[in-house]
Amino acid sequence: MKGFWTAVRAEWTKFRTVRGWVVATAAAAVAMVGLGLAPGMSGSCGKRGPGSECELPVGPNGDEVTDVFTFAHRPLTGDGSVTARVASMTGQLEGSGRAVLAPWAKAGLVVKDGTRPGSSYAAVMLTGAHGVRMQYDYTHDRAGSSGGGPRWLRLTRAGDTITGAESVDGAQWTDVGSARLRDLPSTVEIGLFATSPQYAEMVSMSIGSMGASTEPSQVTAVFDGVAPGGDWTGTVVGERGRPIGGYTRDGDRHTLIGTGDIAPATAGAAGLGTTITQTLVGTFAALIVMVVVGTLVATGEYRRGLIRTTLAAIPRRGRVLAAKALVVAAVTFVTGVLSAAVLVTLGQRVLRANGVYVHAVGTATELRVIAGTGALLAVAAVLALALGTLLRRGTTAVTAAVATIVLPYMLVLAALPVDAGRWVLRVTPAAAFALQQSAKQYDQVDNLYIPQEGYFPLAPWAGFGVLAAWTAVALAAAAWLLRRRDA
């Protein structure tokens, strides 16, 4: 073991005495922090005087939520139920006026703890393209039948259990699901609702980049057969500016026009604001630099013939490679973690000061993103080191390392169609960027879950595993060849 630490010390001495490598490592940190803090994003949150601050309601589970919908309601004390038929749903995009029904436009019945945004609720609904759903407390979603309208719906409260049911004819009923809402008071608001989320489309913007186009959509839902009868109060819940839509009644024909969503809040194209992942956009610049440095740590010795001295001094060749890997990984990890920590803490503030809404994330996620950025850079640099050991010639090795590690990520962001990009992010070393994802992806919220918006196809540590596997294979091959070949 003592021999190993001697080798590590030798490698560390070599690293810190090459001025170019030290400068490059510092430059990587500066580039990463500089790109992340550059004022390239601005928003309007808090910029138009008091009341323009962007605040999202917080749901019963502590998640930030969207809770904007048109509600025709009345109080219900104790147990009870409401039944209605969704006769029709028609949609429209508010910007272009195109007649499009958003896939997650919702019309149905809801029982809710008052009309305060973010309060506990359970709802059964017909959606634009996802059939009948039972949803409660924002994050829970259960599918019913997949057919379209018209459809009968019923929502029943018994104690703290809410049951949703559907029917084609109003006679034969099927349960969609039930929810236990523990904190529901004895008096709740019950009634009809309609809402329609942001409509997002993938557009290929100008050359070399893909982007999203979004506009608000609205739904016009017509209900009939509403039981019990009597009067309902129309409210647009959660809308602080101009209320869009509303409630009108003509006999047993209730029309609700709604815009918004009852769902967990997401970042990106169809959501509000951004995430801390946004502050790490400069990671790829640091990646290029550290990949070049990692390669040169191996090939530099071959260029000057120093490798013969090194191997004469430390004849156990595997040990030399391990020591190099440790030094490169440690230097890169520390650089990456420090830069990411600065960015995640300071970058959030810069974005907020520019009026951009940044989604709150838990400390565990923040730590994973920071440590993950360091780990991603460190392991990528070790992969480059292994490639350098395998190929020995500096230019060839840098080209190979950049082509396997950096280029895939660049192609995903700048050139490839979305589906091809997802595959690249599953199989190439670039998969490890998943460590930087801080936003949650919800199936029941329409959004563009694309890498440009900080959503990756693999789970964070699975993505890291892909990079680690590449590195392990390359490192094993490098160790084997280093032992076998003459220096």
């Binding site: 290929s204 790829f284 390669t295 050139a415």
Partner: protein, 242 residues
């Protein structure tokens, strides 16, 4: 033929990598272009512009061409050959000019094969069409300008590995930062000044109004980058000890 050109020509062709890199540029460009054209259903990729889809392979082509350009001068610094070159041919700007000329002489024919091959391998938009012809000619020039840009950077940086990192960073920095920006004004600003994002607007045959910069103006931006890099390289070459 001037001794400067003759020296550079024989150096370029006696290095084993040159022919391979040129072949790689052609095969990579046309291959990725054909793959992209096959993978994208009509209208899905590149804003529904089949010409741009077929030219996706330029992402590989520009990398290979940049490597070739970096090696023409970086390789000499790596081996110490540069001292011999400058001893034999003391007019340093002329050495760089000769390298640029020789590089252009091999990159242009390779690009002139790679670009039409990509277009033919794709859905085959007819090159008699005005905008398609513009895209084809412009893409050939684009590859040449990327090579000259890389030559300039490599002359200034000298270490070939670091130079390749710099060139790739320069090319991809602007589109990636732009893609991560939510502010559209900033996106367009970045895309107008970035060598790759501005230069690739020459590939467009449809939706010209939505481009951040016009096709020929975009190619002009790359030309400015290349000229700036060559100037920087020439100054560094003149001022520094080899």
């Amino acid at each position: 033929m001037s001794p400067y050109l003759r020296a550079e020509w024989s150096k370029l062709w006696t290095v084993p990598g040159t022919a391979w890199l040129l072949a790689g540029a052609v095969v990579g460009t046309a291959g990725l272009g054909a793959l992209a054209a096959a993978a994208c259903s009509p209208g899905e990729c590149a804003g529904g512009d089949p010409t741009r889809t077929s030219l996706t392979g330029l992402h590989i082509g520009q990398c290979v061409v940049a490597i070739l350009a970096v090696l023409t001068i970086g390789g000499e610094y790596a081996t110490g050959m540069m001292r011999v070159t400058l001893a034999a041919l003391p007019r340093r700007p002329a050495v760089l000019a000769a390298k640029a000329a020789v590089l252009a002489a091999v990159v242009l024919p390779a690009a002139a094969v790679a670009v039409p091959a990509s277009l033919l391998a794709g859905d085959g938009p007819s090159m008699a069409d005005g905008p398609v012809l513009r895209a084809a000619v412009g893409s050939v020039l684009y590859l040449l300008l990327v090579a000259l840009l890389a030559l300039g950077v490599a002359t200034a940086v000298r270490n070939p590995a670091a130079a390749i990192g710099c060139v790739l960073g320069l090319l991809y920095l602007f589109p990636i930062v732009a893609a991560a920006m939510a502010d559209e004004d900033w996106q367009r600003r970045l895309q107008r000044v970035g060598p790759m994002s501005a230069g690739q607007s020459i590939q467009a045959t449809a939706g010209l109004d939505e481009l951040p910069i016009g096709p020929w103006a975009g190619l002009g931006v790359v030309a400015l980058w290349a000229a700036g890099a060559l100037l920087l390289g020439a100054l560094a070459l003149q001022a520094r000890d080899a």
